[in-house]
Symmetry: C2
Subunit: 333 residues, 2 copies
């Protein structure tokens, strides 16, 4: 019997996670390994291979293919990571490098586009053919399923929702633009807004500063923790963040007309009521036809979203349905 399992690999700036995932999206075994991003692409690729070997040494079955999610701009067709700022990568031919090292067919994708596959096939968007997935972590990443296709766009960037306009004369973004959605509601922006507020009025910001140790250490997580303790400044920042999340989502919902929006990522997990607040704003301000049947829900794949998504990308790319696999990938038998 050939394997029906796929490997999912999620590469971040500080760690890589790999997991053997079965066709139902269940993680059979997984492993995390630190990445040494500052030591260049060769070293990170070694880290990935080590992580996979360790994971597979405890796995009950071999994998038929591997999918990889990378935070960055990825050309999935050519198998090349164009830019990955967290890793310091430019034009790394990751697919070929990993196929050579692992001896498996490999498919690579942007991390949130991979998560979108996972959410669509196994998560809170299961069976929903018009689906928008927004993951709010350090930045805001996205992915869109429209009429049953995960959108790629000309260079694999479709669904890069964090860089839709929110206030084009506003805050500087990390991209060439000002006022992107992510520059108001992404984790780095929440931290930046909180630090500015604490610096402007250290008395008001005392609880934030105490929690973080010093102003420069304030993060999105600090804001959510201190807001839960009832601090007025942190609560104000959380409330405006909820508003920014909702306002950005209105334009996205009008443009893509999804049936469901799935919100996930560290910022959403840190303050789950962002989901209901964003839902309320979208219902209030979105086009009536677009919002009538719309649901905005939290992701269900939290801990393993990255690896389940990446494994789903591999399954989809290499068409690993029981019926079609044998002819297409005789090499895997």
């Amino acid at each position: 019997m050939p394997s029906t399992q796929t490997l999912g690999i999620d590469i971040g700036g500080t760690k890589v996670e790999s997991a053997l995932v079965d066709p139902s999206g269940t993680v059979r075994t997984s492993h995390r390994h630190p990445t040494n991003a500052d030591q260049g692409a060769d070293r990170v690729i070694n880290d990935i291979v080590d992580c996979v070997m360790e994971c597979m040494s405890r796995a009950p079955e071999q994998a038929a293919a591997a999918g990889v999610g990378v935070a960055g701009q990825v050309d999935s067709e050519k198998g090349v990571v164009r830019t990955a700022p967290n890793l310091g990568w430019q034009n790394v031919a990751l697919q070929k490098r990993l196929e050579d090292a692992l001896g498996l067919p490999v498919a690579i994708a942007n991390d949130v586009r991979a998560i979108t596959w996972g959410v669509w096939q196994h998560g809170a968007g299961q069976g929903i053919d018009n689906l928008v997935v927004v993951f709010v972590g350090t930045g805001i990443g996205g992915g869109v399923v429209s009429d049953g296709h995960v959108l790629n766009g000309d260079r694999g960037l479709a669904g890069e929702l964090g860089h839709t306009s929110l206030m084009p004369y506003g805050r500087s973004c990390r991209c060439p633009n000002r006022g992107c959605w992510e520059a108001y509601a992404g984790g780095w922006a929440i931290a930046e807004r909180a630090r500015e507020a604490a610096r402007t009025d250290p008395d008001m910001g005392a609880a934030l500063i105490d929690q973080a140790g010093r102003i420069d250490n304030i993060t999105g997580r600090t804001v959510h923790t201190v807001s839960e303790q009832g601090d007025p400044l942190a609560t104000r920042i959380v409330n405006t963040t909820a508003e920014y999340l909702g306002l950005g989502l209105v334009g996205v919902v009008n443009a893509f007309n999804p049936r469901r929006v799935v919100l996930g990522g560290g910022v959403i997990e840190g303050h789950p009521s962002y989901v209901d607040e964003a839902h309320r704003i979208v219902k209030e301000r979105g086009l009536q036809v677009a919002t009538r049947g719309l649901k905005v829900v939290p992701s269900e794949l939290n801990a393993h979203a990255g690896v389940v998504g990446a494994a789903t990308v591999a399954r989809s790319r290499y068409d690993l349905d029981e019926s079609s696999r044998a002819e297409r990938w005789p090499l895997l038998l």
Copy 2:
């Protein structure tokens, strides 16, 4: 020989245009007819049928099918116009009504989604499988081809780009939101901004008021005409409109990652250099990977965009390629 021509029908608030269009997108014969929107849907449907009859009486061939573009929210699958504000329509089963009256298979679509089909198959976006079409008329309409599919979304609204966010705390839109792209750069918004400016400072606005007769008659066209004469206020309004068009387009380009953007509609035709200005802003502020191979170009289908687009919708929906038609639509032989 069965016909390979299709009818395109473009329904506006004041007129209906119908045309017989050949497979290359060339208009063979066309006719315009006033619509009596204030007299209800039955009367408008009669106007449409009269217009088609007049057009076909001079046509060299019969049509195999008809496509219809309607300014409004259209459920193409069910064949129902959900809302068409210019016509005062709610839930009109237009496809069935016209199939009964014309004895032809009919496909209906939002007008700019229909234009998107035309631009993709026969216009400035020919052969471009990641394409964004933006038509700036009274409002801003859009359509998106992504990975070779014209997006529909859950209720046929995907590509409703005029209601992406530009400044969510800004000007009221005609939709439930504030600060939509259309509320800054659509024809009605240009007129509104110009009237406000002329009212605030009638001396500065003298040329606009003279041209229009009175402040309330100032339109987008007035602004473009007076700007060409070198009037400082009109020129300022044109310049900010160009900036708003570009800023809105940055977010759209980042989200959809098209290879080409086609700009058309009355506002663009009234001031064609909006295209280059928007292009410049997108290149400057868009994500680098998204803008490297991107072109922003004017539509080539100006006068007949609506009917050519609608005819293309019919061709696509009823699969009127020479080879496949006979088996699929024996009733048309």
